[in-house]
C-alpha cells in the first residue's frame, strides 16, 4: 500500500499546486482548514483529508461559513487555512473585508484559485483586485514549490503583521505538477482563546483605530517586502525589463531567458522601493500578467512611467508561451509545421446514467425550461434538452425565477422552473426560497438532489450523510427544511421514473402556488452499480424513430440508420432508453446483480 504523505519527511516529489498547498499547510503547522469545493481549488482540502491526519479539515456549506469558522479558530490561536475558487471569494467577501481590520491571532491563509481562461467558471475575475480592496496581503506563487513555501511565508506574515493573507493561485498553478522538496511538520501550539473586544468588535470607535493599523501595516509590509526574497530582481540584459508574477513568470523565463525580470511574489502591498530600483535599472519596462493590468496600473500610477502591458498582452483568457513570445518578441514565433484543423467541438455532457437526464428530458418534452444554477445540471442547456436559460451565480436560479415572475407575472413566466442542485441549494439557494415564500411567489423550484457535490469531482455535503473524511455525519433533511421555509407543496420523485417525473412536473408547473420538486437519485459517482447488464439495441425491432437520441446520452450514438449503445459507457442501473423506446427494441438484463 502507498504510504501516506504525512509519513514522508524528506525527498523531492512531483506535486500539483493544490497538493503543494496541502503539504505546506501540514509542514507549517496548520491546525484547522475549512472550504467549499470549487474548481480549481477542490483538491486542496481533499488532499489534506487524505494525507494529513494532523490537520482538522472539513467542508463548509459555503465559502462565507468556511472563512468564518477559520476566523474563529484563528481568534483561538490556531493556524488556519481556507480555500475557494475565485467566485467563492465573492461569497466570503463580507467576512474577508472586516477580518482584514481584525487581523490574525493564529496565522490565516486564504486560498483564492482564479480561473483565467474560464476552464470551469462563469467569469474571469482577477482577485488581486479584491485582495487590494480588502487591504490584505496577496502572495502569488509561480510553481508548486513556491505554493508550498508561500503557505509557510503567508502564515508567518499573517502572524507577524496581524493580517489575513490571500494566496492567489490560478488554474495553471493549481493543476500543474512540478518538483517540491519535502520537509517535516513543524508543530505549533494553539495559543488558546482570549477575549479582546478592541481587536475583534469593530464598532465604529474600535474600527477607526483598526483602520489606522491596517494602513500602517500596508506601508510596513511594502518596505519589508522590498528587501525580502519573495520579491526579487533577476538581473539580465538591461535593455528589457519584464515585471511579472504567478505563472506568467514561467512563460517569461521560457521565452525571454536573457531579459531582466522583476518577479513579484507579494502582489499587495507592492514593494515600491524594489520596483523603483528595477525601473531605474532597465531601458524598457514590459508588464506580463494574466487577466487584469493589476501590476501595470498600480505601478504606472505610482511612477508615471511609459511601459508596454495590456497594449501587447491580452487581457482576456489564459496566457501561454506563444502568446507571451508574440507580445514580447514579435516576429520570432516557432515554425508551425502543421496547420490547425477544424473539428467538431467535444463539449462535456451529463454522464450516462446521470440522474439529471430524466428531469431535463421531461422538462424539455413538456416544452419547459429553467432558470439554472452552478453544477453539472448547468449542462441542461445543451442540446438535445435545451432546458436551461439563465445562470448567474451559486443559488441564483431561485431569485432569478422569482424576479421574472415579479416582472411579468405567472403567465409571462411561461413554463420556467428553477433548477438547482442540493449542494448549491444548501450553499445559498435556501435564502432565495425563503424570499419566494415571504414575497408571495408561485413558481416551481426543482431541487436536483443527487446526494453529491458532483461537478467538482464528487464531494460530500450536509445532505450526503458523510463528512470530508468520509465519516458518518448527520443528514440534512431537505423536505423538512423546505417545509420549515413555508412551502406547502413538496413532491419527491425519482427522476428516472419518467412517467412519474413528467406527471409531477406538469402538475406543479400548472399549480398557482409555490412548489418544490425534489428529484432524488444518487450521482453515478456516489455508488457502485447494483446491476451489471448494459443496454443493447435489437436492430430488427428498431424503427429508427430517434426518440432515444433525445435523451442526449453519451453512450448512445447514431450510425446513420440505427442507434448504437456503447458497452463501455452504458450505466448498468439506468434504463431511460428502454423507457422511451416505443417498440421495446432496447433491452438489458436488469435483474443480474454484480
Amino acid at each position: 500500500m502507498r504510504k501516506k504523505l504525512n509519513t514522508i519527511e524528506e525527498g523531492t516529489i512531483l506535486l500539483s499546486g493544490n497538493e503543494a498547498v496541502a503539504r505546506g499547510a501540514w509542514e507549517y503547522g496548520v491546525h484547522f482548514a475549512s472550504a467549499y469545493p470549487g474548481t480549481p481549488s477542490t483538491e486542496i482540502l481533499e488532499t489534506i483529508a487524505e494525507e494529513y491526519d494532523e490537520i482538522d479539515a472539513q467542508w463548509a456549506p459555503n465559502e462565507k461559513v468556511g472563512l468564518e469558522v477559520i476566523a474563529g479558530a484563528s481568534f483561538a490561536g490556531a493556524r488556519v487555512l481556507s480555500a475557494m475558487k475565485h467566485v467563492g471569494l465573492n461569497v466570503a467577501a463580507d467576512p474577508l473585508f472586516t477580518l482584514s481590520y481584525i487581523g490574525a491571532t493564529g496565522g490565516i491563509v486564504i486560498i483564492s484559485a482564479d480561473d483565467p481562461g474560464m476552464h470551469s467558471s462563469q467569469n474571469e475575475q482577477d482577485n488581486r483586485l479584491i485582495g487590494k480592496a480588502a487591504k490584505v496581503v496577496i502572495l502569488e506563487p509561480s510553481d508548486s514549490q513556491e505554493a508550498k513555501d508561500m503557505v509557510g511565508e503567508g502564515l508567518r506574515i499573517s502572524e507577524d503583521f496581524d493580517t489575513p493573507v490571500l494566496l492567489r493561485l490560478t488554474t495553471r498553478i493549481c493543476h500543474s505538477k512540478s518538483m517540491v522538496k519535502l520537509g517535516p511538520r513543524k508543530e505549533e501550539s494553539v495559543k488558546g482563546y482570549v477575549g479582546d473586544i478592541k481587536k475583534r468588535v469593530p464598532i465604529p470607535a474600535h474600527a477607526r483605530a483598526m483602520h489606522s493599523r491596517v494602513e500602517k501595516r500596508l506601508k510596513d509590509i511594502s518596505a519589508w517586502g522590498s528587501e525580502y526574497s519573495l520579491n526579487r530582481i533577476e538581473k539580465g540584459d538591461t535593455s528589457l525589463g519584464i515585471i511579472t508574477s504567478g505563472i506568467s513568470y514561467q512563460y517569461v523565463k521560457e521565452v525571454s531567458p536573457e531579459a531582466s525580470v522583476l518577479k513579484i511574489g507579494i502582489s499587495n502591498p507592492l514593494p515600491w522601493n524594489l520596483i523603483e530600483k528595477f525601473i531605474n535599472m532597465v531601458d524598457r519596462v514590459v508588464f506580463v500578467e494574466e487577466n487584469d493590468p493589476y501590476l501595470e496600473e498600480n505601478i504606472k500610477a505610482r511612477f508615471l512611467i511609459q511601459a508596454d502591458g495590456k497594449n501587447i498582452v491580452p487581457i482576456e483568457g489564459e496566457l501561454n508561451p506563444e502568446i507571451v513570445r508574440k507580445a514580447v518578441h514579435p516576429g520570432t514565433s516557432r515554425e508551425i509545421a502543421f496547420s490547425e484543423i477544424e473539428l467538431p467541438a467535444r463539449p462535456p455532457a451529463l454522464c450516462a446514467g446521470c440522474p439529471h437526464r430524466g428531469a431535463f428530458y421531461c422538462l424539455s418534452k413538456l416544452g419547459g425550461s429553467s432558470t439554472g444554477d452552478i453544477g453539472c445540471y448547468t449542462l441542461g442547456l445543451m442540446p438535445p434538452h435545451n432546458a436551461l436559460e439563465t445562470t448567474v451565480c451559486m443559488g441564483a436560479s431561485i431569485g432569478v425565477l422569482a424576479g421574472i415572475e415579479k416582472a411579468v407575472g405567472r403567465e409571462g413566466m411561461g413554463k420556467l422552473v428553477a433548477a438547482i442542485g442540493e449542494s448549491t441549494f444548501v450553499h445559498s439557494g435556501i435564502t432565495g426560497l425563503i424570499d419566494m415564500v415571504y414575497n408571495g411567489n408561485t413558481g416551481t423550484v426543482m431541487i436536483m438532489d443527487n446526494s453529491l457535490t458532483a461537478m467538482t469531482g464528487g464531494q460530500e455535503n450536509p445532505t450526503t450523510g458523510k463528512n470530508l473524511r468520509g465519516e458518518p455525519a448527520p443528514v440534512l433533511d431537505l423536505e423538512k427544511l423546505v417545509t420549515a421555509c413555508g412551502v406547502k407543496h413538496i413532491r419527491v420523485v425519482d427522476p428516472h421514473d419518467l412517467p412519474e417525473m413528467e406527471k409531477i412536473l406538469k402538475e406543479e408547473m400548472n399549480r398557482d402556488e409555490l412548489s418544490v420538486i425534489i428529484t432524488k437519485r444518487p450521482c453515478i459517482m456516489a455508488y457502485r452499480p447494483i446491476r451489471k447488464g448494459v443496454a443493447e439495441v435489437d436492430p430488427d425491432k428498431c424503427i429508427s424513430c430517434k426518440l432515444c437520441m433525445k435523451l442526449g446520452c453519451p453512450a448512445i450514438s447514431w450510425d446513420g440508420e440505427k442507434p448504437e449503445i456503447s458497452r463501455h459507457l452504458c450505466w448498468p442501473d439506468c434504463d431511460l432508453c428502454m423507457q422511451v423506446c416505443p417498440v421495446d427494441a432496447i433491452s438489458k438484463d436488469m435483474g443480474g446483480l454484480t
Binding site: S176, E322, R334, A337, L343, P344, A349, P383
Partner: protein, 193 residues
C-alpha cells in the same frame, strides 16, 4: 539530445489520460529529469476533450508546451489526435489509438465525425494509428488500452525501458500489474520502431 522533450497526451474524459501522463512523469523523474505537467480538471471531464502537457529535461519553466514544439502527441482517440496538430514540431510524431468516440455534438446531429484518415493524408500528418483496443482485448482487459499506447511510444522518448516499467509498477494496483506490464511490452514490441 536536445535539452527539453515536449509531449501532449490527449483524448476524451475517462480514457485514462491522467494515468498515462502520471506514468510518463514518473518514468522521466526516474531518468533524472526536471519534470512539469499540466492538465485541466473540472468541466473538461464529463466526456469532453482532455489533454495533458508533459515537459521534461534539464530545467523546465513553462508547464505548457508551445505551439510547433511537441516532440510527441499521444492521442487516445482518433479525432482528438488532430486537435493539437499545430502543436506538433516539424520533426514531431503523432501516435493515436485507432478508436472513434463520437462527441455529443455529432450524436445530436449538430456536427459530423470527420474522415480522420483523409485529413491525415491531406495534411501529411506523421500519424501512426494503433489498434490498441484490440490488443487490450486480446490481453483480456480493456482498461490497459492506455498502457498499450504508452508501450508504443516508449522507445520514441529518451527514457530507458526499466524506468518505464518502474513507473508502471508504482502506479498500477498489484492485481493488475502483470496485465499492464504485458500491455506495455506488446505496445513496445509492435510499434517500437
Amino acid at each position: 539530445m536536445k535539452s527539453v522533450t515536449n509531449v501532449i497526451i490527449c483524448g476524451t474524459g475517462g480514457q485514462g489520460i491522467l494515468l498515462a501522463s502520471e506514468v510518463l512523469c514518473a518514468a522521466a523523474l526516474h531518468s533524472g529529469y526536471d519534470v512539469k505537467k499540466s492538465e485541466v480538471h473540472g468541466m473538461s471531464q464529463r466526456g469532453g476533450s482532455v489533454s495533458s502537457h508533459v515537459r521534461f529535461g534539464e530545467k523546465i519553466y513553462s508547464p505548457l508546451v508551445e505551439k510547433g514544439c511537441a516532440d510527441l502527441i499521444l492521442a487516445m482517440e482518433k479525432m482528438e489526435s488532430l486537435r493539437w496538430s499545430s502543436y506538433l514540431a516539424p520533426h514531431g510524431k503523432l501516435v493515436a489509438c485507432d478508436l472513434a468516440i463520437t462527441p455529443m455534438t455529432v450524436n445530436t446531429g449538430h456536427a459530423e465525425y470527420p474522415d480522420v484518415n483523409a485529413i491525415i493524408e491531406r495534411e501529411n500528418l506523421p500519424v501512426t494509428l494503433i489498434p490498441a483496443v484490440e490488443i487490450a482485448g486480446e490481453l483480456g482487459n480493456l482498461r490497459v488500452v492506455n498502457v498499450v499506447l504508452i508501450g508504443a511510444v516508449s522507445s520514441h522518448l529518451p527514457i530507458d525501458e526499466d524506468h518505464w516499467k518502474k513507473a508502471i509498477e508504482e502506479r498500477v494496483p498489484p492485481k493488475a500489474l502483470e496485465v499492464n506490464l504485458e500491455a506495455f511490452r506488446k505496445g513496445r514490441e509492435l510499434f517500437g520502431n
